[in-house]
């Protein structure tokens, strides 16, 4: 264990150094005009402002997590027909991926929030509009990731499963997906990070997440540099935590099949 804790400390030190460097680059040349009091934890007003900004964290997390869960499910359901022998099933996969992938996320958010209710005659709140747009957009990428992962499974695995008399569902559930999931975890982690960042776009329809809160702060206090710097730090911390989680999961799942 001493080795790994040393390594962890070295990694942590590297992160700290990186942060310091980033900050000094960001803040160099404007030392005279900095007004950190707006977000200073030392003052009453600063604390209130900080708490206001952090209040968006809940929605950013909730939005991204809901969206990624839905997008993984849709992605899988779109990927499976892409692996079929049936040309219509494969066609559906291609059309879905190509169309959804081609729509810019911001445009999709606006379309879902302002357009979809008119088309379907429903009302949709900002949260679910954001979830639907993010999940749809991401599902096309997830579908490609899953398709690649499933295709990478050795033919022999399928033949062994066939020769045991297992059907399609059992084969997917017990043989193919558990192995494919392990392989696609790194790109899936990528998508999760991407999703967290892209959730900032949902601020344009008024979702009270991190970016929206920061924007409101800027309007109120008129200190964009300080506020957006704090916003960057918020995303940074969030994403470092998520990547650490993904790497932990990767280690846990790959422990068994050491080769």
């Amino acid at each position: 264990m001493p080795d790994s804790s040393l390594l962890a400390r070295a990694t942590a030190n590297r992160y700290r150094l990186g942060l310091l460097l980033t900050l000094s680059v960001l803040l160099s040349g404007c030392a005279g005009q900095l007004q950190w009091y707006v977000v200073s934890p030392m003052t009453e007003a600063g604390r209130a402002n900080l708490l206001f900004m952090l209040g968006g964290l809940k929605y950013t997390i909730l939005l991204s997590m809901t969206a990624i869960i839905i997008s993984v499910i849709i992605g899988l359901l779109v990927a499976l027909p892409g692996l079929s022998r049936n040309p219509f099933a494969r066609g559906f996969n291609r059309v879905y991926v190509e169309i959804v992938r081609a729509v810019p996320l911001l445009v999709l958010i606006l379309w879902v929030y302002y357009g979809l209710p008119i088309m379907l005659g429903i009302t949709i709140n900002v949260f679910w509009a954001g979830v639907v747009a993010l999940a749809l957009s991401d599902s096309a990428f997830e579908a490609e990731i899953f398709r690649a992962g499933i295709q990478s499974i050795d033919r022999g695995q399928l033949e062994a499963s066939d020769s045991l008399g297992l059907g399609y569902i059992d084969r997917m559930r017990y043989i193919v997906l558990p192995q494919a999931l392990r392989r696609v975890l790194p790109p899936l982690g990528n998508q999760l990070v991407y999703m967290l960042k892209m959730s900032s776009l949902v601020s344009v329809i008024g979702m009270e997440e991190l970016t929206r809160r920061a924007n409101e702060m800027v309007t109120a206090e008129y200190r964009p540099l300080e506020t957006y710097t704090v916003l960057i730090l918020e995303y940074l911390v969030l994403i470092l935590v998520v990547s650490a989680g993904v790497r932990w999961l990767e280690r846990r799942l790959s422990r068994r099949d050491v080769r």
Binding site: G165, I175, D257
Partner: protein, 246 residues
């Protein structure tokens, strides 16, 4: 000898323009041990893979236990639970423990309870002489052990016939005999076996019938004593010469 477990009638198979099987007919009766040999590309693997339809045939019939395969998907799945298959590359499931590899088929395809499946698994691990490896993962075992697990996995389905597709070809030389020993023991229990192999010593010891194939055709089918001493065909004689030279 009793009724045929497998009947193959005039089977043909194409890969694009290449004809891998050109009208092969064969019968395997219950309890029979058939060894199929021949040069590479002769169609012996294709033939054995057609028996459980890992390859779909293009012409002719495969009939297992009286049911013709290739008509209905459900019948095929049912038939496959009665046909064990051992591959050259083992094809164990790397993410499952040895025990899980063995219980998956019985539990999902034969609908046995976990308890029943596990006791079956432990019984057959005993038979292939690695009961102590039940909780390991395939990657932690040697090639010979992996192939024995694969044999046990097929046996757990309690099949009517076992197919072996070059079961020792991917093994290091020192591990071949541990796998062959298990196969010989299996033959002694009266299991019906169809074996594609280059191990002529094994063939001599256990085979009731030798089948020699070349260019997608059965060139010769006889009992091993006759095949090894005086093969009928010139090609068979040449093949034996090449394979037994060393």
């Amino acid at each position: 000898m009793s009724s045929p477990v497998i009947q193959i009638k005039n089977l043909s198979k194409y890969y694009g323009g290449f004809q891998a099987l050109s009208g092969v007919s064969l019968e395997v009766v219950s309890g029979e041990r058939m060894v199929i040999c021949g040069p590479s590309g002769s169609g012996k693997s294709t033939l054995i893979r057609c028996v459980n339809q890992l390859e779909r045939h293009d012409g002719g019939q495969v009939i297992v236990n009286g049911i013709e395969l290739g008509k209905s998907r459900k019948a095929l799945r049912e038939a496959r639970t009665h046909i064990g298959m051992v591959f050259q590359q083992f094809n164990l499931f790397p993410h499952l423990s040895v025990l899980e590899n063995l219980t998956l088929g019985p539990m999902r395809a034969r609908k046995l309870s976990r308890q029943k499946a596990e006791s079956l698994a432990r019984h057959y691990l005993e038979r292939v002489r690695i009961p102590e490896q039940a909780d390991k993962y395939p990657a932690q075992l040697s090639g010979g052990q992996q192939q024995r697990v694969a044999i046990a996995r097929s046996l757990c389905m309690e099949p009517a016939i076992m197919l072996f597709d070059e079961p020792t070809s991917a093994l290091d030389p020192e591990m071949i005999s541990e796998v062959l020993d298990v196969m010989i023991e299996l033959a002694d229990t009266g299991m019906t076996m169809m074996v594609v192999t280059h191990e002529m010593g094994f063939a001599r010891k256990v085979a009731d019938t030798m089948v020699f194939m070349d260019k997608g055709l059965i060139v010769e089918k006889s009992d091993p004593a006759k095949f090894f001493s005086s093969p009928e065909s010139e090609r068979g004689r040449l093949f034996l010469q090449q394979i037994l030279q060393h």
